[in-house]
C-alpha cells in the first residue's frame, strides 16, 4: 500500500510551475510584460531560444537526477547512493569526452549523448559488479571513489591531449555542470533519452518496495532481481548519460532531494520516486535562478552553486545520522 500525504504532490507541482515561470522571466535582463508586448525580435529570440530551453532543461535534468537518486538509494538500500557521489556522472562524462577525442562526436549530434549513456551504463555495471546488492556500505563507497577518480583522470587526460586551446576550460565545464546558453537542440536530444530512462526506472517501483524486506524477501514475492538490476542499470545510465552530455556533471541533486522528501512519504522507496523527481526539478531550477541573480558580468557555474548548497546540507545530514547511530 502506498501511503503519502495528499498535499505533497500538488505542492511540489505548484513549486515547479512557479519556478519554471520565474526561470523564464529572470536573468541578466528581466523580461516584463512590457518588453514582451513590444514583440521586438531580440526579446523573442532571448525568450524562445535561451530562456525556454534553459528552464525546460532544468526541469527535465533536475527531475531525472532526483528520480535516479531516489531509485539508487532504494535499490541499494543505502543513503549515500547517487549518480554524482558514486561516479556514474563522471563515467558518463568520460564516455562523452572519449567520443570528442576520437572525433566521432562530429559525425552526428546523437553520438555524444549516446557515448555518455554508454559511459553511464558501464559505470552502473561496474558499480553493481563491485558492490552489488549484498555489498556493504564500505564496498559501495570504495567502488564509487574508484569510478570517480578513474573517470576524472581519464577526462583530464583526454582533454589535455586534445589539440584544442580550450582544453582547460573544457575540463572545468564538464566537471562543473551549467545550463547557461543551452539551446533547443540540446533539449531535443536530451528529452527522449531521459524519458526512456525514467520509464525504465519507474517500472521498477514494485521491486524497490519489495526490496525493503531484504533480498530473499523480495525473491519470495516473485521479483526477478536480475532483471530489475539491469533495468536500473540501463535506466540510470540513460538518464545520467543524457544529462551529462547536455549540462555536464551536476552533483548533489540526486543525493539531497530524496533525503528531504523521504520523511514525507513514510520511507517507501516507490512512493518517493515521483516526489523526488519533482523536488529535483525544483532544486535545479532554484539553483539555476540563483546563478543568474548573483552580481557580476558573467555567471557562476551551476555545479559550483549546487555543491556550495549541497555540501553543508550533506554535512548536517551525516552529523545527524551519526548522532542517531551512536
Amino acid at each position: 500500500m502506498i501511503t503519502q500525504r495528499r498535499w505533497l504532490l500538488p505542492c511540489l507541482l505548484a513549486l515547479v510551475a512557479v519556478l519554471t515561470a520565474a526561470s523564464m522571466l529572470v536573468g541578466k535582463l528581466t523580461l516584463t510584460w512590457d518588453t514582451w508586448a513590444n514583440q521586438d525580435a531580440v526579446t523573442r529570440v532571448i525568450f524562445l531560444e535561451l530562456r525556454v530551453p534553459r528552464a525546460l532543461l532544468a526541469v527535465i535534468i533536475g527531475g531525472a537526477l532526483g528520480l535516479a537518486g531516489a531509485a539508487m538509494q532504494g535499490y541499494l538500500r543505502n543513503a549515500l547512493a547517487d549518480p554524482g557521489t558514486l561516479g556514474i556522472s563522471s563515467m558518463a562524462a568520460l564516455g562523452a569526452v572519449l567520443s570528442i577525442f576520437c572525433g566521432i562526436a562530429d559525425l552526428h549530434p546523437w553520438v555524444l549523448p549516446i557515448a555518455g549513456v554508454l559511459g553511464g551504463v558501464l559505470g552502473m555495471t561496474a558499480l553493481f559488479t563491485l558492490a552489488g546488492l549484498t555489498g556493504s556500505m564500505l564496498t559501495l563507497v570504495l567502488a564509487g571513489i574508484l569510478l570517480s577518480s578513474l573517470s576524472i583522470a581519464g577526462i583530464s587526460l583526454l582533454l589535455s591531449l586534445s589539440p584544442s586551446p580550450w582544453a582547460a576550460g573544457e575540463i572545468v565545464r564538464w566537471m562543473l555542470g551549467a545550463l547557461v546558453d543551452r539551446s533547443v537542440d540540446d533539449l531535443i536530444i536530451a528529452t527522449p533519452i531521459i524519458v526512456l530512462g525514467a520509464a525504465a526506472i519507474y517500472s521498477c517501483r514494485e521491486a524497490l518496495n519489495a526490496l525493503t524486506l531484504g533480498e530473499s524477501g523480495a525473491r519470495s514475492l516473485g521479483i526477478d532481481l536480475n532483471r530489475v538490476q539491469w533495468q536500473l542499470c540501463g535506466g540510470v545510465g540513460l538518464i545520467v548519460g543524457a544529462s551529462v552530455a547536455v549540462a555536464g556533471i551536476i552533483g548533489f541533486v540526486g543525493l539531497v532531494v530524496p533525503h528531504l522528501l523521504r520523511p514525507l512519504v513514510r520511507a517507501q522507496p516507490a512512493a518517493l520516486l515521483i516526489p523526488s523527481a519533482l523536488g529535483g526539478a525544483g532544486l535545479l531550477l532554484a539553483g539555476d535562478i540563483l546563478v543568474r541573480l548573483l552580481p557580476g558580468g558573467s555567471e557562476l557555474q551551476l555545479g559550483v552553486v549546487m555543491s556550495l548548497v549541497g555540501a553543508p546540507f550533506f554535512f548536517a545530514l551525516l552529523y545527524s545520522m551519526r548522532r542517531r547511530v551512536v
Binding site: G27, K28, A41, S164, E170, R173, S183
Partner: protein, 286 residues
C-alpha cells in the same frame, strides 16, 4: 650528511657560474617561457641568440609566429629543459609556474619576470625593457615605430560613424575593460560593448546580454573548430543564427586576443577589415 654536502657544493658551483659571467656583454643564449614574450623576442634578438621559445609558439591557433616557432627549439616550461640549455637570460611571464622559477633561482640562472601589459603604453614599455635586456635599443624603437605606424593607419577617417562590436569566442569568451583588444577597438573606431556590461579583462559573456546589445560586429574565431566541444558549440547557437542579419560576423582569431606587442599589427588589420566591410554593407543596405 656527506651526500648532502656534496649536493650543496654542486649547487654552489652551479650558482657561481653566471655570477662570474660578464654582465656588460649582451646575452647570447636567451630562453623565453612566455608565448607573448616569444613574439617580441623574435623581433628583437638575432635568431641565433634564441636558445628556446615556449612550446605555445608552435601552435598556429595561439601564436602569430608559428612558422618561426617550428624552426626554433622550444621548452615545455620545466626547469630541467631550461637548465640543460645553459641560458644566460630567461624571460618568463608572471603566470609561469612558481616552482620552475624557484628552481631557476636556486641554480642561479638570471631570469626576468614580465607582467601582462593591459594597455598599449604598457606594451611599449615592455618592448623597451626587453630591448634593454638584449642591448638592442634601436631594434626595440624600430618595432615600436612599426606598431605606432599600424595604429596611425588604423584610425578611422573623420566623421566615420562609430560601430558597436564585441569579441565572441569559444566558451562565450569576450574581452572587456583593461584588455589590449579594448584599446585596439577604440583606435579603430569600434565601441567595445562588453566593457559597458561589467566585463573585466577576459570573461565569458552570457549570450542573453550579447543578443540584447546586438552589436554591429561580432568578432569570432575562424570556424575551424569541430563543434563537438561545449566551448565551440556556443558560438553556433540557434539564437545567434536567428539574429544573424543584425550582427555581422568577422574573423578575429584567438591568437590575436591575448598578446600585445607585434601581435597588435595583424590584430589591427583584422579589426580595420571588419570595420570597413560592415561600413560598406551598411551603406549599401539603406
Amino acid at each position: 650528511m656527506r651526500g648532502y654536502r656534496v649536493i650543496a657544493a654542486l649547487a654552489l658551483s652551479l650558482s657561481c657560474g653566471p655570477v662570474l659571467a660578464d654582465d656588460a656583454r649582451a646575452p647570447t643564449r636567451i630562453v623565453s617561457l612566455n608565448p607573448c614574450i616569444d613574439t617580441v623576442l623574435v623581433e628583437l634578438a638575432p635568431l641565433a641568440h634564441i636558445a628556446a621559445l615556449s612550446h605555445y609558439s608552435r601552435d598556429p591557433a595561439r601564436s602569430i609566429i608559428a612558422k618561426l616557432g617550428n624552426q626554433l627549439p622550444v621548452t615545455y616550461e620545466t626547469a630541467e629543459e631550461v637548465v640543460a640549455l645553459e641560458p644566460d637570460l630567461v624571460l618568463a611571464g608572471q603566470h609561469s609556474a612558481l616552482a620552475t622559477r624557484n628552481a631557476l633561482k636556486r641554480v642561479g640562472i638570471r631570469f626576468e619576470l614580465f607582467s601582462v601589459p593591459l594597455s598599449i603604453e604598457a606594451s611599449h614599455a615592455q618592448i623597451r625593457r626587453v630591448a634593454a635586456l638584449l642591448q638592442q635599443p634601436e631594434r626595440g624603437e624600430q618595432l615600436i615605430a612599426r606598431i605606432d605606424a599600424a595604429i596611425a593607419a588604423a584610425r578611422p577617417a573623420a566623421n566615420t560613424p562609430i560601430l558597436t562590436a564585441a569579441v565572441y569566442q569559444p566558451g562565450g569568451m569576450t574581452a572587456g575593460t583593461d584588455t589590449i583588444t579594448d584599446d585596439l577597438m577604440r583606435i579603430v573606431g569600434l565601441d567595445n560593448v562588453p566593457a559597458h556590461h561589467g566585463i573585466h579583462m577576459h570573461q565569458p559573456w552570457p549570450l542573453e546580454q550579447l543578443l540584447r546589445a546586438s552589436p554591429h560586429i561580432l568578432l569570432v574565431n575562424d570556424p575551424r573548430g569541430s563543434g563537438s566541444m561545449h566551448a565551440e558549440r556556443v558560438v553556433q547557437h540557434r539564437a545567434l543564427r536567428a539574429l544573424a542579419g543584425r550582427m555581422q560576423q568577422a574573423d578575429y582569431p584567438v591568437r590575436y586576443l591575448y598578446c600585445a606587442g607585434p601581435t597588435m599589427i595583424p590584430a589591427l588589420a583584422a579589426l580595420v577589415a571588419a570595420r570597413d566591410r560592415t561600413l560598406a554593407t551598411s551603406q549599401r543596405a539603406p
